[in-house]
């Protein structure tokens, strides 16, 4: 209840919107043929700071707020939004939206305050967690220390950003739920130069926490150290191999494999419509029996975690694949209703100005029984891909890519030399059937992921232990 009251204080009180006003808007939305409706209020304060060339170069502050109203009738959705949280504006939006259903009697609803059962992150405003001067000092300290790490460093660029977001969502059953979501992120990228060759390295992290996260355990400095290490490795990298080969993926961020290869294909909307390569395959084998994959929005403090999703549903730890068998999909309310199942708390939206849809939270594979060294040792000839940039998938054909940013050759069971980044391409429905060893070293990423779908971006997490895949196409130049 405490969170809900704070959220109301932040959004409704300044706008002069009362519970009775929400009831009035909802009543306007709920004509007889409307199956579901919601009103989503959002207020988001964010800032970012950039240090480059040894100076604090940029700083910006941003306030975004508004409300979106939605009415759903069968498979049809009507939606309107406004940057102005004002009763007449929202009533007008509701008028536009309810045209989606047949005209009829307005329904009456009474607002019930929903209590969040669990909260997975602190409510405090991260933007206020450090004073402005302390934020600057943190950036300067990371900059100075990072530049000292190696004489080949030419440039260091550091960014620090924080978001303090408050949401409220009212549903047609009368429930009103709220959430307060902090999110911080820091990134260090470096350019190194040696004998005229220039390379870069980059590392960052964050989560649903405040800026002290980067001070604790010297995380900011660790990002700098890691960025420099990667850049120096790249200075040595030679042409990457091309062709189908055994690939060992490192733990943590390489879990982007799961996000692209199977995650998107298991989102409820694509499966309801039968457009995914995984459609209609629940109960079938889609991975080797070593693989158990979950989507878990409940991990405290993670970038992809949510106490409730953007439809007010508490998030869950949803098993997607268990011992290689496809168990289920990730659902929002609309698709869950149409498929006759319940929402898994995966209904997310970029903002009040976008419609919610099934999205991932933190997607990862559970640990297996092999020591990571054992896995490397088992490979006669192959690639060890330790770090990745982004990825993409075609959910219909199942083809997906993800791009290695740090990789090494494995020869006779040993990691030998670094190779340039290359894109890996595979087929989602069968890549996990080729997983022949799963490591003990499950790790989640450091908190940098953003996922794009239909133009909407949301923060997500991924993770996995070290994995061996017996055959995936590596897109190097060395033919």
């Amino acid at each position: 209840m405490k969170i809900l009251n704070l959220a109301k204080q932040a959004i409704l009180v300044p706008a002069g919107i009362q519970d009775a006003d929400i009831e009035k808007i909802m009543a306007r939305l709920l004509t007889s043929s409307v199956d579901a409706a919601d009103i989503y209020f959002q207020s988001s304060h964010s800032e970012s700071w950039v240090m480059e060339g040894g100076i604090i170069k940029e700083g910006s502050h941003s306030i975004e707020q508004g409300a979106g109203v939605r009415a759903v009738s069968g498979e049809k959705t009507g939606f309107a939004y406004s940057d102005r949280i004002e009763l007449p504006v929202l009533l007008e939006a509701a008028n536009n939206v309810r045209a989606i259903g047949r005209q009829g009697q307005e329904a009456q609803i009474g607002l019930i305050h929903a209590a969040n059962t669990v909260q997975y992150y602190p409510v405090a405003n991260p933007l206020k967690s450090l004073g402005e001067q302390q934020k600057i000092d943190l950036l300067r300290q990371v900059d100075t220390q990072t530049r000292k790490l190696d004489h080949r460093i030419e440039e260091v660029i550091i960014s620090l950003s924080g978001v303090h977001e408050t949401i409220l969502v009212a549903n047609q059953d009368g429930s009103l739920a709220g959430d307060i979501r902090p999110l911080v992120r820091m990134n260090v990228s470096v350019i190194v130069v040696e004998n005229g060759r220039r390379e870069q390295g980059s590392m960052g992290g964050g989560g649903r926490s405040d800026y002290n996260y980067f001070v604790e355990l010297n995380r900011g400095l660790e990002y700098g150290r890691e960025a420099v290490r990667q850049a120096l490795v790249n200075l040595e990298a030679q042409e990457a191999p091309a062709g189908n080969m055994t690939v060992v993926l490192g733990s943590g961020w390489p879990g982007i494999l799961l996000h692209e290869a199977i995650g998107h294909g298991l989102e409820g909307d694509f499966n309801r419509k039968g457009t995914s390569a995984f459609s209609g395959r629940v109960g079938e084998r889609v991975a080797s029996d070593l693989c158990t994959v979950v989507d878990d929005g409940t991990i405290p403090g993670r970038r992809g975690s949510l106490s409730i999703d953007d439809e007010g549903t508490p998030t869950e730890n949803t098993v997607l694949i268990e011992n290689g068998i496809l168990k289920g999909y990730m659902q929002d309310k609309l698709n869950a209703r149409l498929m006759g199942v319940k929402s898994t708390g995966n209904g997310r939206r970029e903002s009040y100005a976008s419609l919610p849809m099934p999205r991932m939270t933190n997607t990862y594979m559970l640990a297996g029984k092999y020591n990571p060294e054992e896995i490397i040792k088992s490979v006669k000839k192959g690639l060890y891909a330790k770090n990745f940039a982004g990825g993409q998938v075609d959910i219909t054909s199942g083809k997906f890519v993800f791009s290695a940013s740090e990789a090494y050759l494995i020869e006779d069971g040993k990691i030998t030399r670094p190779v340039k980044g290359a894109t890996l391409i595979g087929n989602g429905p069968d890549v996990l059937t080729k997983v022949s060893m799963v490591g003990t070293d499950l790790e989640l990423d450091s908190g940098v992921g953003s996922c794009g779908k239909e133009g909407q971006s949301v923060p997500v997490g991924v993770g996995q232990p070290t994995l061996k895949i017996d055959g995936i196409t590596v897109g190097g130049t060395s033919v």
Partner: protein, 443 residues
């Protein structure tokens, strides 16, 4: 007329912002405001899926206190919010560093004439009419062939935006623009093979959109031709980038000659000015004043006048792409490219698409690229691809689950031909581009 009144109202708000910044002690300031209205409808399997009414606004301000700057933005245009936004920007400027290169553009470079570029054509279409149009489009795709088995639907979008930009040097201008589109995406199935593809049309003026039936049919054709794709063995061969994706190659080139990457020395084209970057037959220019085109504008995102100009002639790089800050860092002047290039055009060659296939003879036609595997610092390029295998100038079979790789520096220099099959839809206008040789990785 009502529109012009609204532009004037928003110009007043921007002037208030600038005045407020001065009031709060800023020595210079720049402010922008945009307001967008629109309607999007989507249909699927012959019925309405979503109707979305768009209405959004936002303003942003950058203030300078001498050489220190701060920025702030908000979606709330109320008087109190304007004050708070300006003070948020000012308070940030207390903590940023003196940067000798920071500041507004030189006054002499600001746009002073504002030709009508014919980019504002509101489309008086109702939700019901838009639904009917989308259904017509999707029907054309669904009924094109029995192997079209499912659909992701068709959608119609119409948007009008008002953008106002002002700065404390006296620049204050507002412009209206529209953008309308129609798109369709369907699935085809044959045995185990399921594929999806799409087509879209976009224009400033709805009269210039492709016919709905044509869009639907193209979506169906593009989907069907992908069925039963296979991988290739790993090899090196010529690669033909089809016109609709060739723009990506030119965008990577633009990234490498953009000020931000140049002054950070994170470009594979450092110090390439006046050197041979492309073969001699390549000419690339920017045409920001094209009538009715998608990238047309008389000024850039800082108010600097845009100019029709050559970037590459005879394959030689003639100019960088610079905004005010990056230009000063490089000791140069802004080229009117804050916010990017506008209507980038590569001169078409003599060959049409079939002519390019014949010239390639045997190689890979790429029609889709996946992932972001492009490193602008080193030029290293490795991306997922799908397309068609070509022998003796004839398409043989669809190809998927392969990558194409090379280094952009070599790829640009080894362009063999540019087609006259220009895709005029986007901000980069190019025909298909044939690259002499790349590495293909597959089974």
């Amino acid at each position: 007329m009502q529109n012009q009144q609204e532009v004037n109202r928003l110009k007043d708000i921007v002037q208030n912002l600038l005045d407020e910044a001065k009031q709060q002690g800023a020595t210079a300031a720049e402010a922008g405001l945009s307001q967008e209205n629109g309607l999007s409808v989507s249909v699927r399997l012959g019925d309405v899926e979503t109707i979305e009414h768009h209405c959004s606004q936002g303003l942003g301000i950058t203030v300078y206190f001498g050489q220190r700057k701060g920025s702030a933005s908000t979606t709330d245009l109320s008087v109190e919010s304007i004050k708070e936004t300006v003070s948020a920007a000012c308070s940030i400027a207390r903590y940023t560093s003196e940067d000798e290169y920071a500041g507004l553009p030189e006054k002499a470079l600001l746009a002073t004439s504002f030709p009508d570029l014919d980019v504002n054509h509101p489309w008086a279409i109702t939700a019901d009419e838009a639904i009917a149009l989308a259904i017509e489009c999707e029907d054309a795709a669904r009924h094109y062939d029995a192997e079209i088995t499912n659909s992701e639907g068709a959608s119609v979008n119409t948007h009008q935006g008002i953008h106002v930009l002002g700065n404390s040097l006296g620049f204050l201008h507002g412009s209206l623009s529209t953008r309308h589109s129609l798109s369709c995406s369907v699935l085809a199935q044959r045995g185990e093979s399921m594929q999806r593809d799409y087509w879209y049309t976009v224009a400033r003026n709805a009269n210039n959109l492709e016919a709905a039936v044509e869009v639907g049919q193209k979506a169906a054709q593009r989907t069907l031709r992908r069925l039963e794709g296979r991988s290739l063995s790993t090899r090196q061969c010529p690669v033909l980038y089809s016109a609709e994706i060739a723009s990506g190659l030119l965008s990577s080139f633009i990234g490498a000659i953009s000020g931000g990457n140049l002054y950070r020395k994170s470009s594979f084209l450092l110090d390439a000015l006046d050197t041979q970057v492309f073969p001699g037959f390549v000419h690339i220019h920017e045409q920001p004043h094209l009538i009715g085109a998608s990238g047309s504008s008389a000024y850039d995102s800082e108010g600097v006048a845009t100019h029709t100009r050559d970037l590459v002639t005879d394959g030689i790089l003639r100019s960088y792409v610079l905004g005010t800050y990056s230009a000063r860092k490089l000791g140069l002047h802004s080229t009117g490219n804050a916010g990017g290039v506008r209507n980038l055009t590569i001169d078409p060659g003599v060959l049409d698409f079939d002519g390019l296939l014949k010239q390639m003879d045997t190689g890979l036609l790429v029609t889709e690229l996946m992932g972001q595997g492009v490193n602008i610092l080193t030029g290293d390029y490795s991306r997922g691809a799908a397309g068609f295998w070509v022998e003796k100038g004839q398409i043989q079979y669809p190809v998927e689950e392969i990558t194409i790789a090379g280094n952009l520096k070599d790829m640009l220099r080894n362009i063999v031909a540019v087609g006259n099959d220009v895709d005029y839809r986007g901000n980069v206008r190019t025909g298909s581009i044939l690259v002499e040789r790349m590495s293909i990785a597959g089974q």
